[in-house]
């Protein structure tokens, strides 16, 4: 089961409220090093809010959380050095070229000029985007943008990478390629924390948690979840749980 020494994310009763609304309601869970951890939930279930707290973008209302061994309340700066993040909304600079975006974030994370140059070549080659290096990012197709954003998020070789609905809106081929990148990343020992609402993607995760109305209602390997809920697929598991929701999704 879970090896205590290997835990890279741990939360204890982590909560975030906006006024009367409790977006994330006392969640407690742990993620192990090198895992692909699927963070599932319907729209408005609180996935993004929880992830933003873990990334140091949002302050918890109550409860505790530790990422890469650092407290999310007091050591946000330490955490930021050790994580990569890809937001739901594409957030690279559209008016910069492909190589310029890579260079900018490499520089911000303190990589040396030479290292940036070398790694950029390797990366572009691996992505098959060497021809596109001089293109403005806004002219790229969405699938390529997503792959680039993911690559930029792990360019500085973080311990954990957070991906917020990384495959939203891209075609099945691009999604499969994206998941290949996720596997490669996990193989390198980088923990992948990924939210999604594609249930077939949930099957690819090592472990999956399902959020309903701000709470984590289920957390296990996809195989065991299917057994527990006596379901054929993750989709049925998810539907069974989502039906218990009382929250209006937008």
């Amino acid at each position: 089961m879970i090896n205590r020494d290997n835990i890279v994310i741990r939360t204890d009763q982590l909560t975030k409220s906006f006024g009367d609304f409790t977006a994330v309601d006392h969640i407690s869970f742990s993620v192990e090093k090198g895992e692909i951890f699927g963070f599932l939930g319907a729209n408005g279930a609180g996935k993004t809010t929880a992830m933003r707290m873990l990334c140091g973008l949002s302050k918890p209302t109550s409860g505790e959380g530790f990422v890469a061994g650092y407290n999310i309340r007091t050591q946000a700066r330490q955490i930021r050095k050790n994580i990569g993040y890809m937001s739901q909304k594409f957030s690279l600079y559209e008016d910069l070229k492909v190589w310029e975006n890579i260079r900018l974030f490499g520089g911000i994370y303190g990589l040396k000029e030479d290292a940036i140059r070398e790694k950029t070549e390797v990366l572009l080659d691996k992505l098959g985007m060497t021809q596109q290096r001089e293109r403005l990012v806004k002219t790229l197709p969405l699938g390529w943008k997503q792959k680039l954003a993911f690559s930029v998020a792990i360019f500085h070789e973080p311990k954990i990478v957070f991906l917020d609905e990384p495959t939203g809106g891209v075609d099945p081929t691009a999604r499969r390629e994206f998941w290949e990148m996720i596997y490669d990343t996990a193989d390198k020992g980088i923990t992948v924390f990924v939210t999604t609402h594609y249930m077939d993607e949930a099957e690819y995760c090592d472990r999956v948690s399902i959020m309903v109305d701000g709470r984590i209602d289920a957390l296990d390997t996809p195989r065991r979840l299917k057994q527990t809920f006596k379901a054929e697929s993750m989709d049925s598991v998810f539907t069974a749980l989502a039906e218990t929701s009382t929250r209006q999704s937008e």
Partner: protein, 367 residues
């Protein structure tokens, strides 16, 4: 790290289809147009002359008034009420009523009265127009007296004011240094106020916020580009002031630059602070507009701060624009040296320290 941020800001700026043009043409156009518009010399005031006298003298007076070029005859109504009507309809700004016994009184006693009424809806225009008219009429009266008696009693004391530092009392000379300040305030205030908030709107700020970059670095990366833009803007403005209006600073141009460097940072800080607190570009723009309007109106640019009510003067003390306008006018027109302007320089440095700290503190990576 800063290097990469600056590279990014400049690349974005240069790729923007509009920004580089704005930075070049706005100062150029503003410097070519504003000085002519911001003048207090009033010309072509529409005058309604009610001549009840119909005499040679009243004819001469009318001609003199019109020949000055300040007044344009709008109508010659036959009664004061009719004249007032033309003011109501906006056809005339000033009424001059000449009484029927004008010439008679003038020849008999040497004294006569006329009535001047000015429309004060536009206060400046009204008061300036009536004072012009008074001086034209009294000039006319003097010349009549002189021709009547050879004695020159009336002009025994001749007051000729000498306007120091701006001998021609040229409004353009007085306004240009202040207009340069206004230009800097608008460009170096508005552009940064839209910058951070636009990154919030597109979402790119998220990607920056998850990086370990420090607040100081981030703000420095935003501030320095506007500093350089500001230097370009004032250089264009100085060049236009010199080549078009022949106005060079009486003092040291280096002092002008040195203090502009501080001032640009002060206004850009204000812009960044507003951007940090705003969540949409629209919001940032309106808030900035509100502040710029107050800053400009309470700066002494158009009306002297000394004649504002006490409470307004008290507020103006917190207006960096006020100090910089004093600095610019003093160096440009009087040739003041840095040592003459210490209180203003200290004030600017104070604003710089406070606003920069505020800009850094108000940038929040975490909500």
């Amino acid at each position: 790290m800063l290097k990469y941020l600056l590279e990014k800001e400049f690349k974005q700026l240069m790729r923007n289809p509009f920004m580089p043009k704005l930075i070049m043409f706005f100062p150029l156009m503003a410097m070519l147009l504003f000085p002519w518009a911001a003048t207090m010399t009033i010309k072509n005031v529409n005058i309604a002359i009610v001549d009840n006298s119909h005499s040679t003298v009243s004819q001469q007076l009318t001609e003199k008034i019109i020949s000055t070029g300040y007044f344009k005859p709008a109508s010659f109504p036959n009664s004061y009420d009719k004249a007032l009507e033309s003011v109501t309809y906006g056809k005339a700004d000033v009424i001059l009523e000449i009484p029927s016994d004008f010439e008679e009184n003038l020849t008999k006693t040497g004294v006569s009265s006329i009535m001047i009424s000015a429309n004060s809806v536009d206060g400046t225009k009204g008061s300036l127009a009536s004072s012009y008219l008074v001086s034209i009429v009294s000039d006319f009266a003097t010349s009549i007296q002189e021709s009547r008696s050879a004695t020159i009693q009336s002009s025994m004391i001749d007051i000729k004011p000498y306007f120091k530092f701006n001998p021609g009392m040229d409004y353009k000379v007085f306004m240009i240094p202040a207009l340069i300040v206004m230009l800097l305030t608008i460009i170096c205030g508005f552009l940064p106020s839209l910058n951070i908030v636009s990154e919030k709107e597109v979402g790119t700020i998220e990607q920056i916020n998850v990086t370990p970059i420090s607040k100081l670095m981030f703000i420095a990366g935003k501030l320095i580009p506007y500093w350089i833009i500001g230097i370009i803007v004032i250089s264009i403005a100085f060049a236009v002031a010199y080549f078009v209006y022949g106005l060079a600073p009486a003092g040291d141009i280096l002092s002008v630059y040195l203090l502009s460097f501080i001032y640009i940072l002060v206004v850009s800080d204000i812009g960044l602070i507003i951007s940090n607190y705003s969540s949409t570009m629209q919001q940032a723009m309106f808030v900035m507009f509100f502040f710029i309007l107050i800053l400009i109106l309470m700066s002494g640019l158009f009306t002297p701060v000394g004649s504002m009510p006490d409470w307004a003067q008290w507020i103006a003390r917190f207006n960096p624009l006020k100090y910089f306008i004093i600095i610019m006018r003093s160096i440009y027109l009087k040739g003041s040296r840095l040592s003459d302007l210490l209180p203003e320089i200290y004030a600017l440095l104070g604003f710089f320290a406070v606003f920069t700290t505020w800009a850094i503190a108000s940038y929040r990576k975490r909500t």
